[in-house]
Homo-oligomer: 458 residues x 2
């Protein structure tokens, strides 16, 4: 049999990677919980009708579909099969599909469980999603999303607290230099209104969202392609070129959009959020008003967020915003929500590149008992029990193999201490412990050894 | 639009259920780690060739298959379609399937990553699996498995440590009365050899495995149906009827099987494991030799385990055993392993029925600040920041709604304390805190409040 393999775009996670991933997820979860967010999970498979049509035509194509069980041919669309219409034929042999993101399932969850949840509903959700994208460096067909949202309130206090959450999570992960960019969709709406191009909100926001990548000239070129008038482009130019403090930017943008009602509302919301954060302070994050930030997603209606790690050449590591009507696709109107998403894979790459993972993560087992024989192993098992009862991860080499083999096992597993228990130790009721880094050896009673680990515990 | 729903046999997990599930998983993980086991994850989708043929014909039928993307009709088997052969046709439009259990993916993982892992390899894995079974009470199409295994060693120390793990996990979950049943496949092999029915090992073990359910008479009836000779049935009867201590049972079974080489080996292994556990002691578990325990699975070659909660009418909550040849299906021979699985859904039901979930689980947020207006909210956000920095989960009601509405929110979310911050509190720089259970009110500075929570922290 040939060497087994896994589907392209998917991954096995080995222990040394898993402990780092769990470190990220555990840090995130702990912060979410201090802000009163609680976990939910939704099924891996949703009904196709729940997912299809929610992500555009391209999205529909990328959804993994699960074949009906049993004699599915009987109910299949023979005409579609014969005409080789794969999409229509698939509809006749498929009723379930794999979750494409966490947003649509969350909207479905809120509507379906409306009688069991209280509003405002604060939830987080960390689960994998699947996309039949062409796999490439950093893009997988299965990857985790990590979302935190609150629905059922339009209070700006939640915008403030999500900014605090970005700051707290990334600071806790020891990231030193990162920027939270903020904008407000209402400002963008005011802008297109003021420049007389309200019907071109989407192409205009798509174009100015690319400012970072293609520069002012590139944006102007794209606006012309979309037939935005020259006078409108001229009015837009301060948005594309002003640099400076949040206050200065706000003033400039305000002078342009505040003649629009919705634009003024956007400025008001943004000002309130910035003021509150100003008075609360942030740990490591810089908060930056970026009037060109749009994040493509049409469902945002208020604040828009994006986070970038500054010292690393990588796209945004987090993003999100306020939406006012996400649940209406499932028949529940006027439920405002705001939420953000942490890009776990990218955060992982950033921490790896900046060497920010704690070294202790790799050493889960603190001490390995070498195995010199049956009597020694039996006594070692008693000592192991005592260590484990004190929550000190410990193990024994299973056989009386050669010393070198046993030591190699401990080394490869990054175990910092090895206990050497031979005849002398059995006679003295004590344990000789070798520090694998320094080579030092010391002798301890089991009580002393427990105390030693309790004292040095990270 | 009709109310949205999820595929049958799948579940949404609401926060009140999630916190309990996480309590179980976190307890299990913590114990695994003190024994030196590390996490891995495998992809949700495996190649169909990895899964098909590994679970018998019935298993193959229950595997969820994922439709190929794109113009899949072009490569499909037209002849199979026209003859309505759904299985063969499916093979032509499907290359991936959803994980059916964690055992086969783990075997595939070990072989595929053989150069990156060290033996013995101690891993745990907690991930969902999918089966297209008919859903019924307690049986789902998506459910979590929670497996811990070590491969690459035949040392009995691992059998001992897995028994300790059963004991530690379930005792930590406050279960008082549970029994770990143990048997050894070699004893069963010796048994059929001694009674002259070696070719009927499977039907005989299947029959005696049902002793609990159908009684001695039922087993004898089934053995006759399988054409087991009357003299053989007579020789088996002690196995079916002896009651008593492990020692008494061992003696009785030993006297039957020890004339068989493999039977004697099984007795020797079992005796060594029982002796070691005897000398180490267990917390809450009873360890019971059960010569009728077989657990159907053909791949077990040594120890067989099963755990039952005694005060609850439910099947086994954990199980497992030693296997000597699991990776050979992927071309890697002679790799002995032993592992056990925790049935998270059943453990959940047991803890629920016995009311053993800690009450504090439900209260994740410790204090909610009521919202009396903009100035009060702003000051409250500062205090919230201080609480959260001390890892005390805290939140604020987002709007200045009616007091009753705010209190209802806190009540429904099981929040034990509500902070009342009005004009007086702003003036005094202090917080009035209401105990939601007793109705008592006390006044604290923020420092005192942090100290209060730190002192009462569970």
């Amino acid at each position: 049999m040939s060497k087994p393999s896994i589907p392209k775009g998917t991954r096995d996670f080995l222990p040394q990677v898993m402990v780092k991933r769990n470190y990220i997820f555990d840090t995130i979860k702990a912060v979410f919980q201090t802000y009163g967010y609680l976990p939910i999970e939704t099924p891996t498979m949703e009904k196709t009708e729940t997912l299809m049509g929610k992500y555009g035509e391209e999205g529909d194509r990328l959804i993994f579909k699960v074949l009906n069980s049993g004699e599915f041919i009987k109910k299949s669309n023979k005409e579609a099969y014969e005409s080789e219409n794969s999409i229509r034929f698939a509809n006749s042999i498929v009723e379930k599909a794999l979750r494409y993101d966490l947003t649509v399932p969350f909207a479905r969850f809120v509507v379906q469980n409306r009688n069991e949840i209280d509003l405002p509903f604060k939830r987080y959700q960390i689960q994998p999603v699947w996309r039949a994208d062409r796999p490439q460096r950093g893009r997988y067909r299965e990857f985790y999303q990590c979302d935190v949202d609150v629905v059922g309130s339009d209070s700006l206090l939640y915008e403030v607290e999500l900014i605090q959450i970005f700051d707290k999570v990334l600071s806790s992960l020891k990231l030193e230099d990162f920027t939270i960019k903020i904008n407000n969709r209402k400002i963008l709406s005011g802008l297109v209104e003021v420049i007389g191009e309200s019907d071109k909100l989407i192409p205009i926001t798509v174009a100015i969202d690319k400012l970072d990548k293609i520069g002012e000239e590139g944006v102007v070129k794209q606006l012309r392609e979309k037939e935005v008038s020259e006078s409108a482009i001229e009015k837009l130019s301060p948005i594309l070129s002003i640099k400076g403090s949040n206050e200065k930017l706000l003033e400039a943008v305000s002078s342009i959009v505040s003649s629009s009602e919705i634009g003024a509302k956007g400025i008001e919301e943004l000002t309130e959020v910035l003021d509150m954060i100003q008075s609360l302070g942030l740990d490591k994050a810089k908060l930056e008003f970026d009037p060109s930030l749009a994040r493509g997603l049409n469902y945002y209606t208020g604040a828009i967020f994006e986070v970038k790690a500054n010292s690393v050449n990588m796209g945004s590591i987090c993003g999100g915003g306020r939406y006012d009507d996400l649940t209406s696709i499932f028949g529940m109107k006027d439920l405002s929500g705001v939420g953000v998403s942490f890009g776990a894979d990218r955060i992982y790459d950033v921490l790896e590149e900046l060497d920010l993972f704690p070294k202790e993560l790799l050493a889960s087992t603190q001490i390995m008992f070498a195995n010199f024989g049956s009597a020694e192993a039996k006594q070692s098992m008693k000592w192991l029990k005592e260590l484990r009862e004190n929550d000190i991860p410990a193990e024994i080499y299973p056989d009386t193999a050669k010393m070198k083999k046993q030591m190699t096992y401990a080394n490869n597993k990054n175990i910092p201490f090895v206990a050497l228990v031979g005849e002398n130790e059995l006679a003295n009721d004590s344990i000789t412990v070798k520090n694998m880094e320094t080579g030092d050896q010391n002798n301890y009673t089991i009580k002393e050894l427990v105390a030693f680990f309790n004292a040095t515990r990270f």
